[in-house]
Symmetry: C2
Subunit: 334 residues, 2 copies
């Protein structure tokens, strides 16, 4: 048994820089036709120079694979219409982080006073640049996403022509908000489709499953699964694959991030197959993103075959999601 | 400024065995007049021989400190009245673990069919042996304690003369259940008075704060604090201090347990002082336990002085709670 995906896309991807980039980028580039590259580096990607240098570094790392790195800027309210008009063709979206909510987000937005943000958001709307949002407050860890939902609603109503993407949604409340506004879209990660807080902390504590937003309750995961398995037209796959070296995970202070890129497609196929939802997978991992972002990625065909495949215990010094477990599908070498 | 506590007691204490016991037992014995020693060793303490050997090992480790190790048996429904009558003078309580809910609880109770448990529980009631309970189900990690509350209620009603101790309560629902039944009592740990899930997983993930039950919401912690600060007559301090070597904490699978014993008293004094509740501390850390358990511990006076004290980064290879932070009180060397 086999399945072929056309131009699978990972619409939320952390490739890092330097040695880590060189290690992980080929793994995404092998399986996907493109990915939306997150800009939360240190310092963040906020200038054309940094953007171009970073894109070139990615290009070198992914060769010879066919893979389009869709670049993003790190949102600041200082971006003017003229600035954005000039850089429009080099980016696919702009990613907004509230200050301090996740890895390298210190430079993010400290206030959601729409008067302050409006000039940049209106320019983005006019230029058809989507806004991707890490939608969490600084509140209690279980409530952060739900507390942010009124901001999503306010943004959706204030900027009706702006394409807004709720990144890595984790709660049934977020699903409800998504459904209520036509210009809201969402990505869902692999690990939030698989895990709940029970997997992270219900037995032994599992630092390699630790991410932001933290996984929530079984009913939240169920709501995400239903959305993904139905391939709702405004939902996309975005792995949020975020590698950290083992020394940053098995530590007194464990960094947030789950590394899923090299096993994402086999795990998705297995999950969708078990849910009798395989017919929704092409839309979830590619077609919806192509329509939402108006992109035309390389027509790369990725074939998966139903053969047992054991996820490696590590890739270099990065421990992947589902390390050591055997999946029922593998990507067929092209 | 100073404060003297008379016969402080730690009514929920893990001393381990062997080298770990030798390392941690003196730290409890230095600051406390006695402690209730948990029996979840491998294999668990279920026989008189194991009990006596373990108690002797503890005695050797704590010398020359004045400290009474109050021993417990690991509950099994096989204990008969005659067995318990014979061992009555050697134990203070029996600890019941549901199977598989925490460290070394595999041998615990798999079914709460009261018909199965009744003979042993009735014997305990007649012999005035308190029942200490790790009150969690195997359900979703945030719900386990609340899901167990109906079992507490059932036990309290079925065995009205049995002294039942809800160990390490963590939720406002548990506080409510405690208040509703006169024969229910509770211990509260130091770390559940200090932390919420935010401290464990809201920033970086903190394995040294990981314990079972996991810390819950701010409103849950507030309910515990109000109970402790009022020194409700059926509530006692029980640290649940549970040392693990660093290699078991900073690991792909981190063991549950927070090591608080050597800093528990200074941290409690600081917390109660900040809440203007110092007058309740003697009851919380000693008097209530003496009355509930009908014990007469050594009349040890433990003096604390208000001087900055930095919690050590580690005790041997065990990282304590609040490692490296400076408390405003320290235990005065006797």
């Amino acid at each position: 048994m086999e399945i072929t995906l056309t131009a699978p896309l990972d619409m939320h991807l952390h490739l890092r820089e330097g040695a880590m980039l060189a290690q992980v980028a080929p793994l995404s580039a092998r399986d996907f036709a493109g990915g939306l590259i997150m800009p939360n580096l240190v310092p963040p990607v906020t200038t054309p120079e940094r953007l171009r240098t970073y894109k070139e570094e990615i290009r070198q790392a992914i060769a010879p694979h066919t893979f389009t790195p869709y670049m993003t800027l790190f949102f600041t309210p200082h971006y003017t219409y003229d600035f954005l008009a000039q850089i429009r063709d080099e980016i696919l979206a702009i990613k907004l982080y509230p200050a301090g909510v996740t890895t390298n987000s210190q430079e993010g937005v400290a206030s959601f006073d729409l008067d302050l943000l409006a000039p940049t958001l209106e320019a983005m709307s006019q230029l058809q640049i989507p806004l991707c949002v890490h939608g969490e407050t600084n509140g209690f860890v279980l409530d952060r996403e739900a507390q942010f939902l009124p901001i999503y609603k306010e943004l959706a109503q204030a900027f009706p022509d702006l394409t807004i993407v709720m990144e890595h949604i984790t709660t049934h409340e977020a699903v409800q908000t998504l459904l209520e506004h036509e210009n809201l879209h969402a990505t869902i990660t692999l690990h939030h489709l698989f895990t709940t807080l029970d997997d992270l902390a219900g037995g032994l504590l599992r630092p390699h499953l630790f991410c932001k937003p933290i996984p929530k309750r079984p009913e939240d995961r169920q709501a995400l699964r239903e959305l993904a398995f139905s391939a709702h037209e405004r939902v996309m796959f975005g792995s949020d694959s975020a590698p950290h070296p083992r020394s940053k995970k098995e530590a007194p202070g464990c960094a947030a991030g789950v590394f899923t890129a090299p096993l994402a497609l086999p795990a998705l196929v297995q999950l969708f197959e078990e849910a009798n939802a395989l017919e929704a997978l092409q839309a979830f991992v590619s077609d919806n993103a192509r329509r939402i972002y108006r992109i035309d990625p390389p027509a790369k065909q990725v074939r998966l075959v139903k053969e047992p495949w054991q996820v490696p215990e590590s890739y270099g010094d990065v421990v992947p999601f589902l390390a050591g477990t055997t999946l029922s599908w593998r990507v067929d070498a092209l």
